[in-house]
């Protein structure tokens, strides 16, 4: 069973290597789908094993507990949806001359490498391996962000790689400090001092002072990668300039992986310094993110940049949930990770469609989307409503849970600010989406002709979104509850 | 021949430094010439220049008064007083014991040097010439950055010795020979930057040029002539060797603790060797770099400031 943990990241790697030698476009998509499906199946098996047996551990390098399962599920689902969506998207891109055929192997291989590094990140038990994998995600995704090689793409890629690398270095420093604390508590022995399971078990024995400094470094460092304000400057650029499927993965999965790192250290810090310290920091960063993102969302003209700032806001909400803490808050945070990942990927798919159809990201130029592409337009409205936090969609549920947790914890000021921001964003988002969806499109815009694959992918995600908005299936509920317990250290 | 009295020792040291100052300058000039593939003037050339100045008459601007005539002598006196304070030939016999010659401590030394600089600047202003004013203002700008750094460096060393008396510091350092600590590295670097600034060498100032627009020190000396100029030039040489001796006292001391004649000779030999090393350093720096433009000087000097600040911070934290 533990060998599964080793096989899981190797699947995308193997497929990626295979893709390097392929020329036929249809073979690419077939391999892509096969990789995503295989990963999905393995994730399901791992999930069942973990829920049945408690947790899986492999040689101190990998480990899978309920928290891991949450993230694995998200990555696998988004990987599958992206693989389906890319079929139609890539055809349009190559036909339009935006991506040359000879660069296709590089693209697909990089996406597989990207997925593999993300899988390693959430599977990592060793904090050093966690860091290495995160740096790996940065490198692979930076190459993808700058794939188009135009002026803006390169600027975004450069900002992305420089800012996130320095951010992750801070995370490494925090890791070193926690390692120092653990080694000291173990009496100088280094064995197992880098493993999360070991550290979490003895967290109450760690010196609180150094863990405090370490956690500050970690939240600033991995928070940069997650897109918490005020370290979020790279996010709108990178997520808007990247190819749309990559944007979906970046916003949907990658920033959540950075949050995974923060969550692990949150557990350690809770054990060592008591729940107040790390919770308060998370609360602060979360609130700042929500507040900072709001004006930029309102005044935005570029569709994908809007979505980027939206990701900043929602990452802030997750941090808020974690910061408020308690079983409800943490449960809400995990649920929001899933909900936002799914919804954001859906809307990025729609944005990719719009970009291909209208030739511009400027929301002022996108008009009459519903008439030009009925399916995509519908999904646009659905996605926008969901992002804004309307029932019966999933994000409404998780935001409501965060609210409930906040009120129960007595954090009235925080909740008040949060509510105000959410209302403002709701109005702004509906306004933008409405302007884009209704009305008459330009004559130059191609109508109809929607790729079946795109519709399938978007439909899949929309279905999940709707499902999670109506109810949380019992299996998922159990996983989330267990993840909450692991994080809170009970 | 037995022990020399402290007063004789102090006066002798003062005379020694004043006499050796031009020699050090001559050595540096010769080294620079050699590095630049020239033959260069002889080592004793500065002495010849000084005696030439003594023979000449004085010409003074109409607007300058008796104060202007008094400035060179005052500057020379201040610098000689500073020369008496630096421990070259003697130091405290034991750490914590009072200096055998309680003339003053490091702060007084810095004060004498600052007084000399101030008087030169004021004298230049008194003459009423444009170049004098410009040189004086530039020199004072440099001084603003140099004086505090000197203080910081002295403090960082004196924190260890527990006193600012230079003799006690030198004695203390001589005894604990091997403990050149981490902050001392930073303080030494700051001191070397200061050495360049105080002696008016490239990259801070060019001592060879007499172009008024490019120099700091020469601008202030422009209006003086004859014996007045002799005093100022001699003071400049003496200041150079005093600062070198200060560097040695703070960082590289090996100074005899007794005043026996044999020990004095040994100390003199060690002093000469260390001064030669510093002279080589100055010559190398002068031949390797170009003079910095004036507005870049604060950046250069603030490197020294930061080093000194860090040295003190590391000592105290």
């Amino acid at each position: 069973m533990t060998t599964l943990l080793w096989i899981l990241p190797l699947v995308p790697v193997a497929f990626g290597l295979a893709m390097l030698g392929v020329r036929d476009r249809r073979l690419f998509h077939a391999l892509d789908l096969a990789s995503a499906s295989a990963t999905g199946v393995l994730v399901v098996i791992v999930a069942r094993t973990v829920m049945r047996d408690g947790s899986l551990r492999a040689a101190g390098v990998f480990a899978a507990d309920a928290v891991t399962v949450v993230f694995l599920g998200l990555i696998a689902l988004l990987g599958l949806a992206t693989a389906i969506y890319t079929i139609g998207w890539m055809r349009r891109e190559v036909a339009g001359g935006d991506i040359e055929e000879r660069r296709l192997p590089a693209y697909f291989a990089l996406v597989q490498a990207f997925l593999a590094t993300m899988l390693v990140t959430v599977l990592a038990d060793n904090l050093g391996v966690l860091w290495i994998a995160m740096e790996g995600t940065t490198i692979t995704s930076a190459l993808l962000v700058g794939f188009r090689r135009d002026r803006y793409g390169l600027e975004a890629a450069w900002k992305y790689i420089i800012v996130t690398t320095i951010g992750i270095s801070f995370g490494l420093f925090g890791t070193v400090l926690v390692y120092a604390a653990t080694a000291h508590a173990l009496g100088g022995a280094a064995a197992g001092a880098m493993n999360f399971t070991t550290i979490a078990a003895m967290a109450h024995r760690l010196d609180p002072g150094i863990v405090r400094i370490g956690f500050i470094f970690v939240i600033v460092g991995y928070g940069t990668k997650a897109g918490l304000a005020p370290m979020h400057m790279w996010l709108p650029d990178a997520h808007s300039q990247a190819p749309s499927p990559v944007s979906a993965l970046l916003s949907g999965a990658l920033i959540k992986c950075a949050l995974f790192g923060i969550i692990r250290f949150h557990t350690i810090a809770r054990g060592a310094c008591g729940p107040a310290f790390s919770g308060r920091l998370l609360l602060l960063f979360g609130l700042v993110s929500v507040v900072v993102a709001t004006p930029f969302i309102l005044t935005q003209r570029d569709l994908k940049r809007l979505l980027g700032y939206h990701s900043v806001e929602h990452v802030g909400i997750v941090a808020l949930g974690l910061g408020i803490g308690g079983p409800v808050g943490t449960y809400a945070a995990f649920l929001h990770i899933l909900n936002h990942g799914v919804t954001k990927a859906l809307v990025f798919f729609v944005a990719g469609d719009a970009l291909g159809r209208y030739g511009s990201r400027d929301m002022g130029r996108i008009r009459g989307f519903l008439r030009a592409a009925p399916f995509a337009g519908t999904f646009l409205m659905l996605g926008a409503f969901s992002l804004a936090g309307m029932p019966p969609f999933s994000i409404f549920v998780s935001e409501l849970l965060v609210l409930r947790a906040g009120i129960a914890a007595g954090r009235y000021v925080t909740i008040a600010i949060f509510l105000a921001m959410v209302v403002v964003i709701f109005a702004g988002l509906i306004h933008h989406a409405g302007k884009m969806a209704f009305g008459e499109p330009d004559e130059a815009v191609r109508r109809g002709g929607e790729a079946l694959s795109g519709v399938l992918a978007m439909g899949l995600l929309a279905a999940v979104m709707l499902l999670l908005g109506l109810t949380v299936p019992p299996g998922l509920d159990r996983i989330l509850t267990r993840a909450t317990e692991v994080t809170l250290g009970s | 021949m037995g022990r020399a009295t402290p007063w004789a020792l102090a006066l002798g040291q003062m005379a020694l430094l004043v006499l050796l100052g031009p020699l050090v300058t001559g050595v540096i000039q010769k080294l620079k010439a050699r590095l630049q593939c020239r033959r260069g003037a002889g080592i004793l050339q500065p002495y010849r220049d000084l005696t030439k100045l003594l023979r000449k008459g004085t010409v003074q601007a109409d607007t300058a008064g008796s104060f202007f005539r008094a400035v060179p002598v005052a500057v020379l006196a201040a610098t000689c007083a500073a020369a008496a304070l630096v421990p070259v030939l003697f130091a405290s016999p034991a750490a914590g014991a009072a200096s055998p010659l309680p003339l003053g401590d490091a702060i007084l030394l810095l004060g004498w040097l600052a007084l000399g600089r101030f008087l030169t600047a004021v004298g230049a202003l008194d003459a009423g010439g444009a170049f004098g004013g410009m040189g004086a203002s530039r020199e004072m700008t440099v001084a603003t950055l140099v004086e505090p750094v000197l203080m910081l460096v002295v403090f960082s060393v004196s924190v260890v010795a527990g006193t600012t008396d230079l003799g006690a510091i030198a004695g203390h350092l001589s005894l604990r020979r091997g403990s050149f600590g981490a902050p001392d590295i930073l303080a030494l670097f700051a001191m070397l930057v200061l050495l360049l600034a105080e002696t008016g060498r490239i990259p801070v100032d060019n001592p060879d040029t007499h172009l008024e627009l490019t120099m700091l020190h020469e601008g202030m000396l422009l209006e003086h002539s004859g014996p007045g100029l002799f005093c100022l030039v001699l003071a400049h040489h003496t200041k150079q060797i005093v600062v070198m001796a200060l560097v040695q006292a703070l960082f590289l001391p090996w100074i005899p603790a007794s005043t026996a004649l044999f020990a004095l000779a040994l100390g003199l030999g060690a002093f000469a060797a260390r001064t030669l090393v510093l002279a080589i350093f100055l010559a190398l720096v002068e031949s390797s770099y170009a003079k910095l433009r004036f507005f870049r000087l604060p950046q250069f000097l603030s490197i020294g400031f930061l080093s000194a600040f860090l040295a003190v911070a590391l000592r105290l934290l």
Binding site: I162, F173, D207 | I185, Q299, F300, A313
Partner: protein, 218 residues
């Protein structure tokens, strides 16, 4: 090597590291900054050797050797090659004036030392003053990155920052596990390569300098 001697050597190396960091902060020309960061990496390698001799841990020696090869020789050489291809010589005027940068750096060092002096017994887990110097170097590396516009200087700041982290990591108890250190170094190399490629690509395809790319706003 006795622990006391090791502590004193680490302290001295820490002071020298701070000194090289000052040189990087105040460097007016790119190649001076690159030489300074190369010297810094040599010092880190020396620190690794000292700690390896103290703890008799072979891993530290290997890490020291790798640091020397990669961060002191290979990466600076890579940067110099990029400079030669792109043809930049002088640093563009930094965003923050150099004197202000140096003042902030002084504040950072004081902050780092103050922070680590507030720790308790766990302070002994890290040899000498490696922790405050590490914190100071990391933060000052970020200062370099934030106060400069030239892409290569930003990379130098990144390397300096990572040097600080390495310094602390090596001084913790018996050093971090070897696999992790190697993985970290590999990642650093890959990252540097990708960044170098990006700088060249910007120059070749857009014919501009990265510092001039600032259209994405708002």
């Amino acid at each position: 090597m006795s622990p006391e001697l090791a502590t004193r050597l680490i302290d001295a190396l820490g002071a020298l590291l701070l000194f090289t960091m000052i040189l990087i902060l105040a460097a007016g020309q790119l190649y001076r900054a690159i030489y300074a960061v190369a010297a810094q990496s040599v010092l880190i390698a020396l620190a690794g050797a000292v700690l390896g001799a103290t703890t008799h841990n072979l891993d530290l020696w290997i890490v020291a050797g790798i640091t020397l090869l990669v961060k002191a020789i290979a990466l600076p050489w890579l940067l110099l090659r990029v400079i030669r291809r792109v043809g930049i010589r002088r640093e563009i005027e930094p965003v923050v004036p150099i004197t202000a940068t140096l003042a902030i750096a002084g504040g950072i060092v004081v902050l780092a030392f103050h922070l680590s002096s507030s720790l308790g017994a766990v302070r002994q887990a890290i040899t000498g003053n490696a922790l405050p110097v590490g914190i100071a170097l990391t933060l000052m590396g970020v200062l370099v990155m934030m106060s400069r516009r030239e892409a290569l200087t930003q990379m130098v700041g990144l390397f300096a920052s990572e040097n600080g982290i390495f310094f602390t990591a090596m001084a913790v108890s018996q050093g971090m596990p070897l696999i992790i250190e190697i993985g970290v170094v590999l990642d650093v190399i890959l990252g540097a390569l990708v960044m170098g490629v990006m700088v060249l690509r910007v120059r070749s395809s857009v014919d501009a300098d990265i510092a001039e790319l600032d259209r994405l706003r708002g």
